[in-house]
């Protein structure tokens, strides 16, 4: 990916991410988040993570965010009323966030050092990021976490049903 494609894409991602937190209406926030996620999937493609990109769209944009939209519509939420009295808190939060980002970014960007690892300059082998390579790693080295996710999902399903079902008992 060259600078010519990276900068517009990154700018769009940041712009829509800002849209998420600045829009007054939750639906618009959710849509901005959807676009952000979609653009991130595009970026994943540039980073040779094709399967992850597809999953990002299927799981994140296609299911998780739709759930958000579903709840927003179900509860028929209206736009927020802006509140004045929280301004100082907001300023503090923004300042904190900017300072945090700066503190992490400064050494990373200006270190003149490269990240640990061999691979940035060379092109990735054809097998990198394919379903086969990810599956092989997932079912050998990461087989325990993989099994744990099944318990995790079961707990989530159980919990969601317990909390949201209409009637008790």
């Amino acid at each position: 990916m060259t600078l010519l494609t990276f900068i517009p894409l990154a700018a769009l991602i940041v712009g829509f991410a800002l849209g998420v937190i600045l829009n007054r209406h939750p639906i618009r926030s959710a849509l901005c988040l959807a676009v952000t996620l979609f653009l991130l999937a595009v970026m994943f493609v540039f980073l040779d993570a094709h399967l992850v990109a597809a999953l990002q769209i299927i799981v994140y944009a296609g299911a998780i965010l739709v759930l958000f939209l579903f709840v927003i519509m179900l509860l028929n939420l209206e736009a927020d009323i802006p509140q004045k009295r929280r301004r100082s808190m907001s300023i503090a939060a923004v300042a904190g966030g900017v300072v945090f980002a700066g503190a992490v970014l400064r050494p990373i960007l200006w270190a003149g050092d490269t990240l640990p690892g061999p691979g940035w300059s060379e092109s990735a082998p054809a097998s990198f990021g394919t379903a086969e390579s990810i599956g092989a790693r997932l079912f050998t080295h990461f087989v325990l976490p993989f099994e744990v996710t099944s318990v995790l999902l079961l707990v989530a399903v159980l919990g969601a049903v317990v909390l949201a079902k209409k009637k008790l008992g």
Binding site: R28, L31, H50, A54, G62, L69, F70, M73, T130
Partner: protein, 364 residues
Amino acid sequence: MLIEIAIILLKVLAVLGLVMPLAGALGWIERKGSALIQDRIGANRASIYGFAGAGLVNTLIADPLKFATKEDVIPRGADRLLHTLAPCVNLFPVLVAFAVLPFGNVLIVGGREINLQIEPLGIGVMYVLAMMSLGVYGVVLGGWASNNRWSLLGGIRGSAQMISYELPMGLAVVAMILTYGTLDLQQMARAQGELIWGWLPAWGILYQPIAFVIFLCAGIAESKRLPFDLPESESELISGYFTEYSGIKHLMFFMTDFVEVIIISGLIATLFFGGWQVPYLYASGFEFPWGSSIALPNIAVVLLQVLSFTIKIIFFCWFQIMLRWTLPRFRYDQLMQLGWLGLLPIGFVNIVATALAILALQTT
């Protein structure tokens, strides 16, 4: 470089050139089909000098013209930006999903081998699922931005229905991935060219009949057609999420419906019915199991393949239209029960059974 781009462009044009008129024609076929089933005369005004068959051509031109010249109404209190965006968001992902659908094997032109698939992505079928899962945004946006209760209800119904039925659909696809050992739809289509016992074409439906049924149900639910058309259900919600649309935007919603029918048909054909395969047709021509063979040039083979694929798609489109006018609508709780308590567990069992069968075959 330039030639490659030109080839891709040509492929895109070929696919769109097939899909868009077909989608338009389906509108007419649907009207005719419903008339046929309900034993009445239907869609007979659009004819040329009394010849009703010409109505097809007429519909292809007259319908878009009619929609394009109508006033585009945006209701008061609606979110103007999202209202306009919704139909585009609805149509776009379905159209780009065609990019990985193979419509033929390899065409050889001037020594250059052209893979008859717009983009041979490694993640193939996952890409289609990804694009189809984006289709729900158009429904949600249209429903929400219209400032109309029926629209909102349609949007809510649509979002819940579409994410619910994505799961069984994904499970059916996983079963097919296990069967073929690849994600690439072109590879899947090629694998179906083999023969079982020397004479039976190894189409996916023979291996995975259960996955086929699941995929068919989920596919129809994804395209929101009867018996799963609750997001639109005319008698309850007028037109559901696109009640408040008129003019060209309405046409786009309308088109999306039919394009979805086509992509579902294409997927069914590719996954379960051999894709572009013609039984006993190989790269060099027909080779029948009883020994005789007919040699054919590459171009004829390719044409036959494309024709075969087109016929299969049209057949399944017609099949979906017949379904629509045959079955009554589900109630919403029945819809959810079928998805979550019926298709989903069956899909899981099917995957486990498939995996076990493959394991057993590999170890013996």
